[in-house]
């Protein structure tokens, strides 16, 4: 089996047209031409869109998680409906719905921030649905005894939630929450569907436009490397945070 695989790889290495691959995917000249805009414009936009969507999504998710755990039935029903709906749809549909569907249905409907605003709103709505389930799971992972101890000291339900349960829940869910963040980073590539101006392009759209312009695939390679430069340090940082949180547990 291994011999077969080795033979296959050897054949690919020997038969491949390396000059052609190098020219089309790793073209240094093309790479040089993409700087500095790929960082100062495209990567910057990707980071900004992600950060905004994450912050708004997280706030929304917290509200949804608390509603889902509420004793009040309509709250619970709303949260369940919302979460199932937006987790069940492709993010692309939600973005198009916000960006084009609503303005068609309601004359003069404008999301604040224009097309970027519509994109951020759409991703916040989708991210909120996913993160709500993560937060709920984190809250439920905090031992029951913590709530009892807090309540026996006279803390109200909401005080217990915010001072005792949520701080512990967030320590528990840092890793899955980072996964959501990485997913959001990648989902900002869907913003292109809403239309872009030269100043609002994020990484994927930027790379794609250069590629079409010069008929060379190297821009995609550059975009891929920049994505990894963003996501890999993030995972490393989270690893560090987890270690530090472990000390206080």
């Amino acid at each position: 089996m291994y011999a077969l695989a080795a033979t296959f790889i050897a054949a690919v290495v020997l038969l491949a047209d390396w000059d052609r691959i190098g020219f089309n995917f790793f073209n240094l000249e093309v790479m040089r031409d993409m700087f500095p805009e790929v960082i100062t414009l495209a990567a910057r936009n990707t980071v900004i869109y992600t950060a905004l969507s994450f912050v708004f999504g997280l706030a929304l998710a917290l509200a949804l998680a608390l509603m889902k755990l509420s004793t009040i039935r309509p709250y619970r029903a709303f949260a369940i409906g919302y979460i199932e709906l937006f987790r069940g749809l492709p993010a692309l549909i939600t973005l198009i719905f916000i960006g084009f569907g609503l303005p068609i249905a309601f004359d003069g409907f404008r999301t604040p921030g224009g097309r970027v605003g519509a994109g951020v709103l759409g991703l916040s709505i989708v991210g909120g649905a996913y993160m709500a389930e993560t937060i709920r799971a984190g809250i439920e992972a905090v031992p029951r005894g913590q709530v009892e101890a807090a309540r026996s000291l006279g803390m109200s339900k909401s005080r217990t939630m915010f001072s005792i349960v949520l701080p512990q829940a967030f320590r528990i869910i840092i890793p899955p929450l980072t996964n959501e963040l990485v997913l959001l980073i990648k989902d900002t590539s869907l913003f292109f569907v809403l239309g872009t101006t030269p100043m609002t392009k994020e990484l994927t759209k930027f790379a794609r436009d250069v590629m079409i312009d010069i008929r060379n695939a190297t821009p995609l390679t550059v975009a891929a490397i920049v994505y990894l430069l963003i996501t890999l340090p993030l995972t490393y940082l989270v690893h560090r945070l987890e270690k530090r949180a472990a000390v206080s547990r």
Partner: protein
């Protein structure tokens, strides 16, 4: 003497299971009452009903003249008067010892931070753990954690303390330090209701021992009576079993 805790005809169901079958019971101010009985007898449930961590199915519980079972009762305020110590300590793991002791003081009693920290230092000294003030709970032994938990309750200046099997989760060599702290509270005249399996401790400090079985109070009285020469066969059988261990 005024009653600190007054329980009238308390019933508690878990689903179809009746765990408390009509308890009438009083703890006077300054009194130390130890509740003993086999596991499943309802003694922990009874204790947890006193500060309404467990919702009574029916009956009345009066704390210093205030009906805590009244739907309109300010349960949060009454709870600040009732310190509670749990079998599993339940310290807040994300806060250091000082913050464990001050958080409810500042957030619930609205004490200024300086005052709360001063109180924290005092109660920590009372349980003999002043040097651990900056540690996180995870770095403490079980005995130390339970002493911090007692200090956390004391920091609220409660009028009474409830103990739910405070030494049952501890290694045998750590039980003594916790019982010592509790003896200190008894000397200071604290009103205490203690669910425990420590018969020696009960005999030594209790003003009254209550023996529970199958959801009712079977027998109660002074420790030398209940723990040495009980009247009921059920209590005798329980004591023989405990001594055999």
């Amino acid at each position: 003497m005024t009653a600190a805790i007054e329980i009238r005809d308390l019933h508690k169901y878990f689903g179809d299971l009746e765990v408390l079958k009509g308890i009438d019971f009083e703890v006077a101010e300054g009194e130390v009452v130890c509740v003993i009985g086999p596991s499943g007898s309802g003694k922990s449930t009874l204790l947890r009903c006193v500060n309404r961590l467990e919702e009574p199915t029916s009956g009345t519980i009066i704390i210093e003249g205030n009906d805590i079972t009244d739907p309109d009762a300010d349960v949060d305020r009454l709870r600040t008067k009732i310190g509670m110590v749990f079998q599993q300590f339940n310290l807040f793991p994300h806060l250091n010892v000082l913050r464990n002791l001050t958080i409810a003081q500042t957030k619930v009693l609205k004490r200024p931070r300086d005052e709360a920290e001063e109180v924290a230092r005092q109660v920590l000294e009372r349980v003999g753990l002043s040097e651990k003030i900056d540690e996180y709970p995870i770095r403490l032994s079980g005995g130390q954690q339970q002493r911090v938990a007692i200090a956390r309750a004391l920091a609220m200046n409660p009028d009474m303390m409830l103990f739910d099997e405070p030494t049952s989760a501890l290694d045998p060599e750590l039980i003594g330090e916790v019982l010592d702290v509790m003896r200190g509270l008894v000397r200071d005249g604290m009103t205490m209701m203690v669910v425990t399996h420590e018969m020696t401790f009960a005999r030594e400090v209790a003003d009254r021992v209550v023996f529970m079985d199958e959801g009712i109070v079977v027998e109660q009285g002074p420790p030398h009576h209940i723990l040495v020469n009980p009247e009921t066969e059920r209590a005798r059988r329980f004591l023989r079993m405990v001594e055999a261990k």
